[in-house]
Symmetry: C2
Amino acid sequence: MERPQTFFDRLLEVPLFQGIGRGEFMEIAGNVKLAFHKVKNTSVIVCEDELCRSLVFVLNGSFCSEHVSDDRAFSLMEWGGGPAVIQPENLFGLRTRYASTVRAVGDVQLLEIDKHAVTEILARFDIFRINFLNLVSSQAQYSRRLLWKSQSEGIERRFVQFVADRSARPAGHKTLHINMIRLADELCVTRLTVSKMLRKLEEKGLLQVGRQRIDIPMFERLLQEISAVG
Amino acid sequence: MERPQTFFDRLLEVPLFQGIGRGEFMEIAGNVKLAFHKVKNTSVIVCEDELCRSLVFVLNGSFCSEHVSDDRAFSLMEWGGGPAVIQPENLFGLRTRYASTVRAVGDVQLLEIDKHAVTEILARFDIFRINFLNLVSSQAQYSRRLLWKSQSEGIERRFVQFVADRSARPAGHKTLHINMIRLADELCVTRLTVSKMLRKLEEKGLLQVGRQRIDIPMFERLLQEISAVG
């Protein structure tokens, strides 16, 4: 009998369920089908370009999401942990498909609520509706603001900004798959400048450079280092 | 007695009210306060950084919106016409303030619904709620996608992309206020390259260059020209 309690506690940590009491949650659970299931390491939780038929919550465990650029030339992998909701901004709107692929890292507990049921919850539960509107509106505001920011000065800052702008959160383990020519193009500098910059950050232990691959174990350390330098 | 009919017809052209029937609209109008009012030429309809206390619709007339970059170094002015809803993505979320200033061009008819009333309508009217979710989600998807697009090749395309990415719609009259050094920085080219590119587009009658100001009478013509060239 401990399981529902645990799930409930985990759910309350997801912004979408914040402020929802136990009684109200039980009412939701009694009205719509909540599908709890487990997946194993490397299982695909959601797949890029697949239709969003449900809202997926990672309750326990870790996951890795990979976003590929439009021209398939580079990608960013990000690791995160539950509780979290996967791409809620893609459930409605013009393009109701997942923007990135999310895979389980180790055993992962999921909660899936199909879109029809989400629509029901949005209609009936005020707090959930306001939470959902706040979440999606924040996403819209955040992405739009990025376009109006001034470009960071200095190549290191520009590189960190490039990764941060494309990240779901400004911390954690990230891997950028990109070739040096493309990265130089994206940062508007020469390939040599990019190589030097990366070598410097590698010497400081902030990242590892591989073949068409830059591994950043803790992005927050890179962010701190760069802000401290400026 | 003609006025409500006209307002209603205009409102139905706004995506937020699409699919709402006359009966349902009358029910909304009977339940919440809808404030219709007129403003004169150059009046501020909404002001940048001001708290979004209401959802504002331009029913009839034209408006000009101005978005200033974070560092106040450049701005984009765009002209548009009603029926339209002003920045619905800023009513909820982390930053519920207007992102740009919108002014009336000539006489303008507005409909204003205060946030509390919008919350009521969102709770009670399924179509409006789904329309609102679709609108804000689309904004979030659109802005996010821009980050993953590959940079346009060629300086002309990059300039057009720079304006398009920051525009609410890819057509109409736009004025970019920016100095040439900053524009060169933003496009990652030299000042001379920017000047040459602008002169060429000016000779084709696609834009006029003034002091720290680029005026584009019909952005759709510039877009067409650039796609045709490629």
